[in-house]
């Protein structure tokens, strides 16, 4: 993996208010620790940090960090990895970064992105490619850390999956995840049956005419006729009662 360069300055300002002042100046508060006697509070330029994090390795890149002036007055160079990034998910800014100094001769455990290549056969047949495990835990020398691990999914059929054990890791890289974990799978899309809203009986009766394609059965027609006759009889009775009332 290509190594990125990043400049940092020793940070005097501490605490919430100090950190906010730094962020307003375009500096991201950070801390450097590991492979040394003490941790060091530093600050890095927001734009430079953005370039590093957007670079090829992303958050798993190896960085040559250069602190311009330490407390002893000497410049300091360290090979570091990003251990943690704190983000404000609403403002979309980086709040704080943890840099961990590493030794280039010792193996380290880190994470690397898994990316699919090719179009799965199952997808062309109407399936959905599900990317379940997006990062793999690996162990290797810092110089051997791959930018990403490409997995060929072109032969994946519907209902089939690629597990961690199926992935061919680059040379000198050991995958630490359980071999049975599923990384990619092609699933069948769920078919949703939409319910047709039931029209209440009264509304249906008010609508009157039958829907297209429907024919009234003879029995229903007969019943309907009987109902009409009954209604007619009732109406006549009412009229007669009204007339009687007027006469009175």
């Amino acid at each position: 993996m290509e190594r990125m360069k990043l400049k940092a300055e020793l940070r005097d300002e501490r605490g919430t208010r100090g950190a906010k002042r730094l962020r307003r100046k375009g500096v991201v508060p950070a801390v450097l620790y590991g492979e040394g006697p003490e941790s060091m509070a530093i600050g890095v330029d927001t734009k430079d940090l953005s370039k590093v994090l957007r670079g090829k390795g992303g958050e798993h890149a190896i960085i040559d960090l250069q602190v311009e002036k330490t407390s002893e007055g000497k410049p300091l160079k360290k090979t570091v990895i990003v251990k943690e990034v704190q983000r404000d998910h609403i403002k979309d800014i980086v709040l704080h970064v943890d840099f961990a100094a590493i030794s280039l001769t010792e193996k380290l455990a880190t994470k690397v992105a898994v990316v699919d290549s090719g179009e799965a056969v199952g997808v062309t047949q109407g399936g959905i490619l599900e990317h379940i495990l997006r990062e793999l835990n690996i162990e290797c020398l810092p110089a051997d850390i791959p930018e990403r691990i490409l997995v060929d999914v072109s032969g994946l059929m519907i209902g089939k999956s690629i597990k961690v054990g199926d992935i061919v890791s680059p040379p000198d890289v050991k995958i630490l995840n359980d071999a049975n974990l599923i990384v990619f799978t092609v699933s069948v899309p769920k078919v949703e049956v939409e319910k047709v809203e039931e029209v209440p009986a009264e509304e249906a009766a008010a609508a009157g005419a039958p829907a297209e394609g429907e024919e009234k059965k003879p029995e229903e027609e007969k019943e309907g006729a009987k109902g009409k006759e009954k209604e007619g009889a009732k109406g006549k009775e009412k009229e007669q009662q009204k007339e009687k009332g007027k006469e009175k």
Binding site: R87, H89, I90
Partner: protein, 139 residues
């Protein structure tokens, strides 16, 4: 598919307040693209359902969808033309309490343009401002 709890310990709840930003469910965790709330509000079960239907209709069996919120708060309402008093009203609906920053829906298995269009249709069914976010977004 009405979203509501299967069983609750108490039938009615106090209204509560929605101060500050969300602290959980802030990042796209399952899919590739998501819809993030930019305001705090109660989102009702019918609004969630309307948004889900809008997504499903536009996706047309492509892609996979995750709903990241669940309406677990009962809302009561007094009947119309009722005098004040005589106790709290009857449970009317269920809402999800959403604060600023919460990821509401996630999508996977479609192109970014398609996801954007789909989630904008879902956003139009909701009562808050939202924005489209992707997993790969950085500073």
């Amino acid at each position: 598919m009405v979203l509501q709890p299967k069983k609750t310990k108490y039938r009615k709840q106090q209204r509560g307040r929605m101060k500050g930003n969300e602290t959980r469910g802030l990042s796209v965790s399952f899919g590739e693209y998501g819809l993030q709330a930019l305001a705090s509000a109660w989102i009702t079960t019918s609004q969630i359902e309307a948004a889900r239907v809008a997504i499903m209709r536009h996706l047309n069996r492509r892609g996979k969808v995750w709903i990241r919120i669940f309406p677990d708060k009962p809302i009561t309402k007094k009947p119309a033309e009722t005098r004040m008093g005589k106790g709290k009203g009857a449970p009317e609906t269920w809402v999800a309490v959403v604060r600023r920053g919460r990821i509401l829906f996630e999508i996977e298995g479609v192109t970014e343009a398609m996801a954007q269009e789909t989630l904008s249709r879902a956003a139009s069914k909701l009562n808050i401002k939202t924005r489209f976010v992707s997993r790969s977004r950085m500073i």
